[in-house]
Symmetry: C2
DNA sequence: TTGCGTGCAAAGGTTTTGCATGGCA
DNA sequence: TGCCATGCAAAACCTTTGCACGCAA
């Protein structure tokens, strides 16, 4: 991962803290703004976008777009280097991101490259669906 | 697939034609607008969105969001019913959508459901990466 | 004739940019 | 002191909505 660049500011620090404390789910720019506002120390929207862009570029944070209707969401990635080596499952109901360490699945990369001539980028690829918890809730 | 509903108009017809003739790649709303403008018969943006929405709902067309920066893209799906039964590969370089009929891969659905308690929605899930052609080009 | 489709313009929301100010190193 | 970061406001975009008119059935 690229090292942090630029100056350290309170805002930058608190934003990263917020992302880390929500690392089990994605969070929208609007939510981030609301959080800082409720803390009594509002953070300008422009700053949020600028900082998030940098974090995404550094690979610290992942950006999701879904259908663009509600705006993009962001999520902290625990260990960016490890995430190149497994796939991700994202629950469309609760927003949880599941890191899937599974040898069986990593074989599909090779399989597709060898048999179909396509080179998957695991960093960009996310399986969308429903997690066990949400599936159970909706059954009831 | 749900049957077509409502009236048939020239615009509706021509839009579908355009999508079909570009069924090997995705196309943006802006491109669609530019195409109709260059044909001398402009098509209102609102109409494009409204028709695309209906096509997406009917399952005739697939919608991609990427990072929301350039706006959503749309692509005609040759055989919607067949597409529920295989995965899709999308080349990030050329935008080509590849339908991957492969028994080996269809097993991963079951595998993930059984071993990881997660239910993938193949309609929402796309593998992103680079196709053989683009990989070759970039090597040179 | 009925009611959907279209076009235009306006509105809504998200994201970006410019510029002056403030804070880190 | 230099330079980056921030904040505010304005702008740029993409997308949706309202309304009157046109066109298919």
């Amino acid at each position: 991962m690229k090292r942090d660049s630029g100056y350290n500011t309170k805002q930058k620090e608190k934003l990263l803290e917020l992302l880390i404390s929500n690392s089990d789910r994605h969070i929208s720019v609007a939510e981030i703004g609301a959080f800082f506002a409720s803390e009594g120390s509002p953070l300008g929207t422009a700053t949020i976008y600028r900082q998030l862009d940098k974090l995404v570029e550094r690979g610290v944070v992942r950006k999701y777009s879904f259908d663009g209707k509600t705006g993009a969401c962001y999520q902290y990635i625990e260990d960016a280097s490890a995430c190149r080596e497994h796939f991700h499952l994202k629950c469309l109901s609760c927003g949880r991101l599941i890191h899937l360490d599974c040898q069986h699945l990593m074989g599909i990369n090779q399989h597709i490259a060898q048999h179909h001539g396509f080179y998957i980028d695991p960093a960009q690829t996310v399986f969308y669906g429903k997690c066990a918890d949400c599936a159970e809730k909706e059954d009831s």
